[in-house]
Symmetry: C2
């Protein structure tokens, strides 16, 4: 049975992990007979967004504490993620992936990945273990791999251009499909970069999870 680490970035599409994508990832892992353990960086969120109005709220929240809502309390800090204990890694999306796990939402091609997340993800890359990136999370791929990796964030031209400026190879991809870089064992799918509803997001995420697990069992 494969064991997969899932790194969350908070709880809510506008300032954290996209909730549907995160839950669909956990469901697909179990339905493919894999075990999972959730992780998140123990850092303050970049900001807190009122998801009803879209306005910023005068609050502070912690990424690990809020991610624990999605994980029903069963979550660990990313600093405790030991690559030897896992067969694969998956990053669900949401703005949290671009605001908390890295600062791509603000700095574009000049972004940096949060140190504990970068260290964990690099360990999977160096071990040539498969990693899945959902929605906007693929923006981190060039910084993690340091060489050209085929990936998708759907078809948004501005985002794709920034990713290519970092050295990524962007491939346009419909919501129900995924892009795989077999050499680096990197799988990505657009999910809510393109999805108009939850079942569209589910279609690509199910296929991404199956592909990640297939690569993990090779």
């Amino acid at each position: 049975m494969s064991k997969v680490a899932v790194i969350l970035s908070g709880c809510g599409v506008f300032d954290g992990a996209e909730i549907h994508e995160s839950v669909l990832t956990l469901l697909a892992l179990e339905e493919n007979h894999a075990e999972y353990q959730c992780f998140a960086p123990d850092i303050e969120q970049y900001h807190v967004i009122n998801h009803l109005t879209g306005d910023e709220m005068p609050e502070k929240r912690n990424v690990l504490v809020e991610s624990a809502r999605i994980a029903r309390g069963n979550i660990k800090p990313v600093s405790e993620l030991n690559v030897d204990e896992f067969d694969a890694l998956i990053f669900p999306g949401g703005f949290g992936a671009a605001k908390n796990l890295c600062d791509f939402a603000f700095k574009g091609k000049d972004c940096n990945v949060e140190p504990s997340v970068l260290k964990a993800a690099k360990a999977f890359a160096e071990a040539n273990k498969p990693v899945g990136f959902i929605c906007i999370a693929p923006a981190m791929i060039p910084k993690i791999y340091g060489e050209q990796v085929a990936l998708t964030i759907g078809n948004d031209e501005q985002t794709a251009t920034a990713i290519e400026a970092m050295g990524g190879e962007h491939v346009c991809c419909p919501v129900s499909e995924f892009v795989v870089d077999e050499k680096h064992k990197v799988v990505s799918t657009p999910a809510y970069m393109l999805a108009g509803n939850i079942s569209e997001a589910a279609s690509g995420i199910r296929r991404l999870v199956a592909k990640v697990l297939e690569l993990a069992s090779q």
Copy 2:
């Protein structure tokens, strides 16, 4: 195409709507070709729980604003729920159903249902439109229907006793099944009252959603 109202109670199992149950409900609705609209009461949460530690946090959060995280912003106050626009209603669970939508978690059989939620749910009962209750949400059924309705919260004896003291008829039920009261068109399933993982919760929720939609189309 059936249109279903979904009433959320926050965002997180310990102080709000159970996130997996909520997302699985939305997914099952779409995969059964139904439309949904999320609602939540525009009230302060009973409290805020740190889902990492289980401790109460010195914060205030609003049920509608936090529920909007699960709904990706597309949510309305329960006070705007017009029964004539919907074919059915579903309540996902989580402690929020017993702390925010009613006070069953604190008062047991002497609980009261939040007024805007009670008004909306009674309107579905009076119109004889089907209503689904997941996890601990069935604790509200006796207060909504005011007569004996068959229901389940799994097999927890203390909870079942309190519900029977309010006039409910508790039926023990495994996680992958549901209980239906055909006369009142009330469907319930234990989900995380019993589920050990997300796929177990999904099994009962999928069947509950299908049954609610079947009743709605009669």
